[in-house]
């Protein structure tokens, strides 16, 4: 089965600024992939290219289609929320549901209605009358009502409080996600999503610096916290990054000699956010 998203040498330039610099990656079906990178790393450019919102150089296939040329057909099978809530202020909630139901063959009205019912927002209200959090919830209900093979979420929970964010991710995993779907998600709150991700793509300065499943990460990367007495021995094992935490030093390794490390202290698999910091800071030095 070919990958759901296949990018090779994907490049996007804005004038002299290179937002994506020959980025190559692939996303398989049935995964929840986090696209993680610092501001200005090219996350949004990558998502825009994948969704057919922008022209690009290089090769890109999404669900077997060229996104920019075939956006209309692609949107039958893919749905997205780009950035913050962008529903227009004049739109009434019930009109929005009618509209999407009218133009989208894969929209399941009952599911969107069920999600909206949970928010307890009256359908006659216009978007401009809603708080940012409510707007986002309406948008999410509309998007999750679409039976899409690929769901792209760009900072989906921006403006939501902790309860709403948790409820959203629970709904995403329990009600929406199944083996026929793929979710590509970017967020700055990496800690919030790392438990539900199956794969990560680290992006920095327009290039993919890590394309890995979380299972591979636990095999490939190891961290260890050591006191001052073991620090030299630990450094001898060639960590690619280290940082000091509460008098101890945490060192990060790729494919280390596990037996030697185990003698120095307790080894653990780094969290996605720690690995992200380690990878970007470590590779830079």
């Amino acid at each position: 089965m070919p990958a759901l998203i296949e990018a090779r040498d994907l490049t996007k330039k804005y004038g002299s600024h290179v937002a994506l610099d020959r980025a190559s990656f692939s996303v398989e079906g049935g995964r929840i992939v986090g696209l993680i990178g610092p501001n200005g790393a090219g996350k949004t450019s990558a998502l825009r290219a994948i969704l057919g919102l922008t022209a690009y150089e290089g090769q890109l296939r999404v669900l077997g289609r060229e996104p920019f040329r075939d956006r209309t057909a692609l949107m039958q099978d893919a749905s997205f929320i780009a950035d913050v809530a962008v529903l227009p202020g004049w739109l009434r909630i019930e009109d929005a549901v009618d509209f999407v139901a009218g133009v989208h063959p894969r929209f399941r009205r009952d599911r969107a209605a069920a999600l909206l019912a949970k928010t307890e927002i009256a359908g006659r209200r216009r978007m401009r009358e809603l708080s940012k959090g409510m707007k986002t919830q309406v948008h999410l209900a509309l998007t999750m009502g679409i039976d899409a093979k690929l769901l792209v979420l760009d900072e989906p929970t921006l403006g939501l409080d902790i309860l709403a964010r948790r409820a959203f991710y629970d709904a995403l995993v329990n009600d929406y996600m199944d083996e026929t779907r793929t979710i590509l998600i970017t967020t700055h709150q990496v800690e919030e999503v790392e438990n539900l991700l199956t794969d990560v793509l680290f992006i920095d300065k327009g290039r993919i610096v890590l394309d890995s499943s979380l299972d591979d990460i636990s095999v490939r990367y190891t961290a260890i916290a050591v006191g001052p007495d073991h620090i030299d021995a630990a450094r001898a094992q060639k960590p690619f990054y280290e940082r000091r935490v509460l008098g101890k030093t945490v060192l990060y390794y790729e494919h280390p000699d596990m037996e030697k490390l185990a003698e120095l202290g307790e080894v653990h698999t780094p969290s996605v956010s720690d690995l992200f910091v380690a990878k970007l800071s470590g590779d830079a030095t």
Binding site: R48, L51, G52, L53, T54, A55, F68, R71, T72, A73, L74, M75, Q76, S79, F80, I81, A82, D83, V86, L87, P88, G89, W90, L91, R92, D95, F99, V100, G102, V103, H104, P105, H139, T143
Partner: protein, 290 residues
């Protein structure tokens, strides 16, 4: 087709002015008819009566048509720009509707839907106002304002005007769409600047005024293109001899259907319009930011 219906419905949600403005104009006219002073001159002859009726129908129609033209131009300038300004373009693009469909739905709203709304509004207004005045002024005026033949002719005139203005002004409407699809701000200013710059540039560098001439032909040449010479001669005769009001024997004899649709100028304009529409679609595909 289904998508077009939803998109046009969407335009009504977004631009309530499409029906609010004609409602306000019509409402004002009805209020005037209800409470204004009815002081029609004594209608002594059939010809005079016809003229009074025509003046009445013509004034109502012209008012609606002028307001409609201004509103439609504003709508065209705003429609694609507004989506980018409030960033909702990203929501619309998350749905399986092509950019061509979106742009064409906005064009259709401006040149077909909005004119039809105004047409219906003008009709309802004339019927209501004529009815009210008839009741208030008595049978003498009633016969004048209820001329079925004349009323039918006005209907045909409206439809003819909607069709021919849509075709004749296609390069202008398409140009406004292009600006709406392109400009990052100040759409009104941007709509005026490029032609102005071209006219001045041409005058400065070549000392000619071909562009200015072509533009004025397009903007002001509509009547000449779509109506026969009868109209001009009737208008000048009426102006020269204002004491005895003449009546056009038949409004329809003014229309120059075959002349309009066999004219080179008409089809040259259509070609330019199509090119500009394609440009608008291409910009809509690429521009998601302000």
């Amino acid at each position: 087709m289904n998508n077009y219906i939803w998109l046009v419905r969407r335009e009504f949600w977004e631009n309530r002015a499409i029906w609010v403005i004609p409602l306000v104009i019509g409402g004002f006219m009805v209020l005037c008819a209800l409470f204004g002073r009815v002081d029609l001159m004594a209608v002594s002859s059939h010809a005079l009566g016809r003229t009074v009726g025509q003046a009445f129908l013509g004034t109502v129609g012209a008012t609606f048509f002028v307001v409609m033209s201004i509103y439609a131009a504003w709508y065209l300038l705003d429609c694609l720009y507004a989506d980018r300004k409030d960033r909702s373009v990203l929501f619309w693009k998350s749905l399986p509707i092509s950019d061509a469909t979106t742009v064409l739905s906005k064009l259709a709203t401006a040149v077909i839907v909005i004119p039809l709304v105004y047409f219906v509004a003008a009709d309802l207004t004339t019927l209501l106002v004529a009815f009210i005045i008839s009741v208030r002024a008595g049978s003498l005026v009633a016969g004048t304002l209820w001329q079925a033949g004349l009323w039918l002719q006005i209907q045909l005139l409206w439809l003819y005007m909607i069709l021919t203005t849509a075709v004749w002004y296609l390069p202008v409407t398409a140009y406004l769409l292009l600006i709406s699809s392109w400009a990052k701000r100040a759409v009104t200013l941007w709509s005026v600047l490029p032609p102005l710059a071209l006219i001045l540039g041409e005058r400065w560098f070549f000392g000619t005024h071909v562009i200015a001439h072509q533009l004025s032909l397009r903007l002001f040449g509509f009547t000449e293109a779509a109506f026969s010479a009868n109209l001009a001669s009737w208008a000048s005769a009426t102006a020269a001899d204002s004491d005895s009001i003449r009546t056009p024997a038949d409004i329809l004899s003014f229309l120059d259907f075959t002349g309009f649709f066999s004219s080179m100028a008409t089809w040259a304009g259509v070609a330019v319009g199509i090119a500009l529409i394609i440009g608008s679609i291409q910009l809509r595909m690429r521009r998601t930011e302000i």
